[in-house]
């Protein structure tokens, strides 16, 4: 029948439109702070949420130099191979997050607070915006 045929066509067309629309709408899901770093080297694999490191929060309290020169953090998201063992030994985050300078490691969920599956990234970085569309899997 003519009607049902055209309806089918409509449905197909609507489906295509929906896919198109999704492509447009899907992008701006995350609206986190500029410079928030998601670190997901091992977290997903270990069944933990990825770590979200808020640069802005730490910048209120410390100069860049404290972490990036004194503590040896490289300027590279996910490039420091941080593990909980190192942290408990007082390296990296553990230099302050030891219950002395800042709260200590038993507050798992304060750092491990990212949405599971979020790739390692510097949120809103130029590279993320220009080279990889937001939401796409981020190379390290």
């Amino acid at each position: 029948m003519k009607k049902s045929a055209s309806r089918k066509w409509w449905q197909a067309f609507a489906g295509m439109l929906a896919v198109l629309a999704l492509a447009f709408v899907e992008a701006p899901v995350a609206q986190a702070e500029y410079g928030d770093v998601v670190i997901n080297n091992y977290a997903d694999g270990a069944g933990m949420r990825p770590v979200v490191f808020p640069h802005w929060f730490h910048r209120l309290r410390f100069r860049c130099k404290v972490c990036h020169a004194d503590l040896g953090f490289k300027f590279k998201a996910g490039g420091n191979e941080i593990t909980m063992v190192k942290i408990i030994d007082g390296e990296f985050c553990g230099a302050c997050h030891n219950g002395d300078v800042a709260w200590s490691v038993e507050n798992c969920n304060l750092c491990h607070s990212g949405k599971p599956g979020t790739p390692t990234q510097v949120h809103e970085s130029t590279i993320q915006k220009l080279v990889q569309p937001t939401g796409a899997t981020n190379k390290k």
Binding site: A14, L17, L20, V25, R49, V52, K65, K115
Partner: protein, 342 residues
């Protein structure tokens, strides 16, 4: 049945901007568009199926809800959920679908609503095969939904007209929602639970400090966090430590500007050591990123955009490359024989 077709064709003819493709059902629209925010509750969006979230909104009446959905709200709802491809009726159908799922007790407010949905759903859907039964079934317990079962087509016709007439005057309302790389003000500095990266189901997320608890007192900037961190430090708004434990430690500040002459018409770059050494140690940049010798560091915007040289920080954590004139700040003397070029 016939009548519903008449209504449908009326509608189609009515809004010239909408091509004659079959309207999506509320559920379809929801699962394609709305769910992005309305399932996790991003930016305070009322969550799907959450009665408490929806009750105050439904209380204002469905027309108000439709308006919010069609035109967007200052709180963060983009017009038509940011999907301008949706017709007004599809948008309304999605609202209906969510309201129905929220199981809010709606005594009166719902009455003008059902027609809008009725005509959309009743026309193509029930006749078709699969997806139809579900929305209808879900809808059934609601008084609002009853018209979907056809009985009042006459009443619906005029209602739909007025309903779809009003919003077509103001289609894409929020001009900023068009550019998806540009954050509208309502999406800036969101609290962790709503920022899309933190997991709102994690208890720790809610213990984190929301940026706006601090930022309003800080000097403003036009990009990044919208905070001018260098000024914040200069003015003493923040007093970040220069040492992990010693609050009296001081930075080794070096006041030396380096001017880089650049090609083309852009002003030359003035690199201030001072502002950088307020935050950083020499070893942060030298010699890993920059060789401390004139002419030894070829820098291009391409490299910076890709995260090298200045781009190791600028465009990631320090002010982004959109702020051209913060670096390119020294006006060139006009000179017909260019001396620059390096």
């Amino acid at each position: 049945m016939k009548k519903t077709y008449v209504i449908a064709s009326l509608l189609i003819g009515f809004s010239a901007t909408q091509p004659a493709w079959a309207a999506l059902s509320g559920k379809e629209v929801f699962s394609k568009t709305c769910t992005v925010c309305h399932t996790p509750g991003i930016a305070g969006a009322p969550r799907f199926g959450n009665t408490a979230d929806w009750t105050p909104r439904v209380a204002k009446g469905l027309p108000a809800l439709y308006q919010s959905a069609l035109k967007g709200t200052p709180k963060g709802m983009p017009a038509k959920g940011g999907n301008q491809k949706l017709s007004d009726d599809e948008t309304r159908a999605a609202v209906d679908y969510m309201v129905t799922a929220a199981k809010v007790e709606t005594p009166k407010a719902a009455e003008p609503a059902p027609p809008a949905k009725a005509e959309v759903k009743a026309a193509p859907k029930p006749v078709t095969a699969k997806p139809a039964p579900k929305p209808v079934a879900k809808v059934a317990p609601q008084p609002a939904a009853v018209p979907a079962a056809v009985p009042v087509p006459e009443a619906t016709a005029p209602a739909t007209k007025t309903a779809s007439a009003a919003p077509t005057n103001v289609p894409g309302s929020d001009p900023l929602s068009f550019n998806r790389l540009l954050k509208p003000p309502s999406k800036r500095n969101l609290p962790p639970a709503e920022d899309g990266i933190h997991d709102p189901t994690n208890d720790g997320t809610h213990a984190l400090l929301p940026p706006l608890s601090v930022f309003p007192n800080m000097p403003k900037a036009n990009a990044g966090n919208r905070v001018d961190w260098v000024q914040a430090l200069e003015k003493g708004v923040i007093k970040p430590r220069a040492d992990r434990t010693d609050p009296t430690a001081e930075m080794m500040v070096m006041d030396l500007n380096v001017v880089r002459e650049v090609k083309g018409s852009m002003p030359n770059v003035v690199y201030p050591h001072k502002q950088h050494t307020e935050w950083l140690d020499c070893s942060n940049c030298h010699t890993g990123i920059f060789i401390p010798q004139k002419g030894a560091n070829p820098i291009s915007m391409a490299a910076i955009l890709l995260g090298e040289k200045c781009g190791v920080c600028h465009g990631k954590v320090s002010f982004p490359v959109s702020e051209c004139r913060k670096c390119h700040s020294q006006k060139k003397e006009f000179n017909p024989t260019p001396t620059a070029a390096k």
